[in-house]
């Protein structure tokens, strides 16, 4: 078939029984269907089998890549943007129908106000991934990407753009991996793609630029405060969770309060913070990947713990019910013996709350007290995701005492209130 030689962007003529169609060929995910952009702008699909004759009228022209000159205003602070993938980092190419990565031009086009807030001195792309595909190696790579900019005095702050699904894991990992942070790191996202006029990326990027040029030397997730395109909040990296699949304000702070509320041109500090300094940040990216997270549910077989032991896992976070309970002695699936045995065998097991909000308190009910006797570590009001990453990081250090470290306020911000 003549259509085999078609490339996305080619202008073609297709003769079918009903009509001669002219338009641009688009990327099609169905090999049987030619997707055609008509002159009117509408796309239609034509099945290969219906095409009587096909002709290329004009081959697609390769897209000229414009080199964007990043202007510099000496009065403004310098910011580096690190792009890692996700909705905020890709857009649809209407010519080919494919998805293409964002470049500097795109970012400055979405939010031209950034140029009035800071100089974007560099756009770095260590990798492009959907956040659901990331793993601890990517967190390490990202920390390593940040390091030279943190130690470069001419750079005042960093903005990282990231997919939303696991953004709150990355923010935790970075805050454990980067020690002695000396300047702001804003991590941001979008829930509506940047090729639409209603994208939330614009406000998120503008507010991230405000944050990156502020004096707050902390890692914060910057995102919409609510459904309005009015202000963003700076959310503490280890106290935040994606709590909605699709809303602009998908991220919510859990068991804490915002660092700042930000609008275009204004940053309102809401609590004490670690100030910008001349410290020399260091990376500590040792990480034990054999850790996992189990949500305990009614009727669940506790031998899942044995499975993890057999697989060589060194640590587990159990997301427990209520104030810190698991099915106990009077349950048909008593978890206590298996937990106790695994801990005796050397596994580190910690408890967090599956209620998401609130603090564990194992002393209220007898079942909590029984669980306590197994040697499990209750992590107070730490989020499960934060606990998982902290556990991996702590167990990555052979000489550390896991219990002591898990309960220590190792990072700049307190894990406990």
């Amino acid at each position: 078939m003549k259509t085999k030689t078609f490339a996305p962007g080619d202008r073609v003529a297709l003769q079918t029984k009903s009509k001669l169609w002219k338009g641009y060929v688009l990327e099609s995910h169905d090999s049987e269907v030619i997707l055609l952009k008509l002159e009117s702008g509408y796309n239609i699909g034509i099945r290969e089998g219906e095409i009587l004759d096909a002709k290329v009228l004009e081959k697609a022209k390769p897209k000229e890549k414009k080199e964007v000159v990043l202007e510099k205003n000496t009065k403004l602070k310098n910011v580096v943007i690190i792009i890692t993938g996700g909705t905020i980092s890709s857009r649809l190419d209407p010519k080919s129908g494919g998805v293409i990565p964002t470049d500097a031009e795109d970012i400055l086009n979405i939010a031209p106000e950034i140029k009035e807030i800071c100089n974007v001195v560099k756009i770095d792309t260590p990798f492009m991934k959907f956040s659901e595909d990331m793993d601890p190696k990517d967190w390490r790579k990202l920390a390593e990407t940040c390091e030279p900019y943190l130690n470069d005095e001419s750079v005042d702050g960093i903005i990282i753009t990231h997919g939303t699904d696991t953004l709150h894991y990355t923010s935790v990992a970075l805050s454990f991996f980067i020690r002695d942070l000396n300047k702001p790191i804003a991590i941001t996202y979008s829930q509506r793609s940047i090729d639409r006029a209603s994208t939330d990326a614009a406000l998120n990027l503008i507010c991230s630029a405000e944050y990156a040029t502020s004096d707050i030397a902390e890692i914060a997730l910057i995102g919409h405060k609510n459904s309005d395109d009015k202000s963003c909040i700076a959310m503490p990296a280890k106290r935040v969770r994606k709590l909605h699949t699709s809303r602009r304000d998908a991220f919510k702070i859990v068991n804490d309060t915002p660092l700042a509320e930000i609008t275009s041109g204004k940053i309102k500090i809401l609590k004490t913070f670690n100030a910008r300094s001349n410290k020399k940040p260091k990376l500590d990216t040792k990480f034990q990947e054999k850790v996992s997270l189990i949500k305990v549910h009614p009727g669940q077989d506790p031998s899942i713990i044995e499975y993890y032991e057999q697989q060589g896992y060194k640590g587990l976070i159990l997301e427990t019910t209520g104030l810190g309970q698991v099915p106990g002695k009077s349950s048909s699936t008593n978890w206590l013996p298996k937990i106790k045995k695994a801990i005796q065998n050397g596994m580190v097991i910690c408890a967090t709350a599956q209620t998401i909000y609130g603090r564990l308190n194992p002393n209220v009910y007898s079942s909590g007290r029984e669980l306590q006797k197994t040697g499990i570590i209750f992590l107070e009001d730490m989020l499960s995701e934060t606990a998982l990453i902290k556990l991996g990081w702590v167990l990555g250090h052979k000489n550390w005492n896991p219990k002591e470290k898990m309960l220590e306020n190792v990072s700049n911000r307190l894990d406990k209130k």
Partner: protein
Amino acid sequence: MEHDYKKIGLKIGLEIHQQLNTRKLFCDCPSILRNDEPEYTVERTLNPVVGETGEIDVAAAHEKMKNKTFIYQVYDTNCLVELDESPPGKINIDALKIVLQIAELFKCKIFPITQVMRKTVVDGTNTSGFQRTVLVAHDGYVETGEGKVGIETIALEEDSARKVSEDEKTKTFKLDRLGIPLVEITTKPEIYSPGQGKEVALKIGEVLRACNVKRGIGTIRQDVNISIKGSKRVEIKGFQDTKMMVKTIDTEISRQEECVENGECKNEVRGALPDGSSKFQRPMPGAARMYPETDVPLLKISRELINEVKKNLPKLVSEHKSYLSEFGLNDELVKLILKQGKVEDFKTLSKVIESPELIAKSLTLFQKEIARKEGKSLIEVNEILNAHVLEAILEEVGKKISKNDVRTVMQKVVRGEALDEAMEKSDVDLREEVEKLVREKPGLSTGAYMGLVMGKFKGKVSGKEVADVLGEVLF
């Protein structure tokens, strides 16, 4: 204002938008317009969209949109889809079927595979910054007295948000209308006189009304594209009424003739005014900027679906009219049946009894009369006396009851009597007799009628029953 349309090379094309009578196109919210207070509001901005090929000056676009805030009023009949806080759901299959019906009635060809598109709109009328639209059919036609006029395309799209107010900095919209399915019918520029334009509009309107579309002001919007030799295409928007079409087109022709003379023709969009003139609105926008709606799969319209639609094609009013007239019904009854949408019921009932006039009256006049007498709404009476009930009553004509009893039985049913009870012979005859008596001997006193009736039925009926019936008939 006499024009030789042929000589001046008049070309007219119509674009008609009609709301469909279903839930919303990409969510399950009801298509209800609200005039009460909203639950809450959200505040949004729209951003310049990265240009496709650089032909759009992003900086300029941005400058224009800067500092414009859109406020959306949200109701409990809205969801996160209208708020642009959730991806669209599946396309509404009922709406698609209606559009397929319309396409079939215009003898269009249907696209077997088509893609929902996002048409960029940044004036705030869409929370998303675009309107979702999908081509469904192409290349049909409308017959007119002056020849066939081609239908270029038929599309299914979302209606926009309703503007409530505007000031320098903010525009306020209601989210109630956003997402109501619209059919967009675009004719080819093959209309060569204003009269033909009106005829096409009326023909299209007739097809639309035969299908399940919304009724009333604001549910249909008609735009007319007009050009003459030497001028440029001008779009006149906002006809609510086809009555003004001929005058408006003629006025526009005169305006364009002047433009041609002065050599200052421009492509522009004008708004129709009630007096038949029009007012400049804005320059004609460039080609619509469209890109695919990546959150919904390609729309595949199967043979099976098209066949199902073809099997259930609605009849046009003109077809219904001739169908009903064949039964020998008078014009008034035909009109009533059409107006009240009772053609299908008429068809069903005509299989039960060979008495078209009685069926027609039972469906229309009788019900109206009963509603008035019983102090109930016509809708309520229609509901009680649905086709099934009427079928049960008419089946008994010639058996339990006579033709003359039908109206009385209907009234009793409306009053709450069981069917069997209502068809009891004595009661029925009593009422009929009383009415006959009053007709034949008008002006007597109630007592006189009472005596006559009691005498006639000789103890078969109680005095109270007769008094009740008399009370109803006389007052």
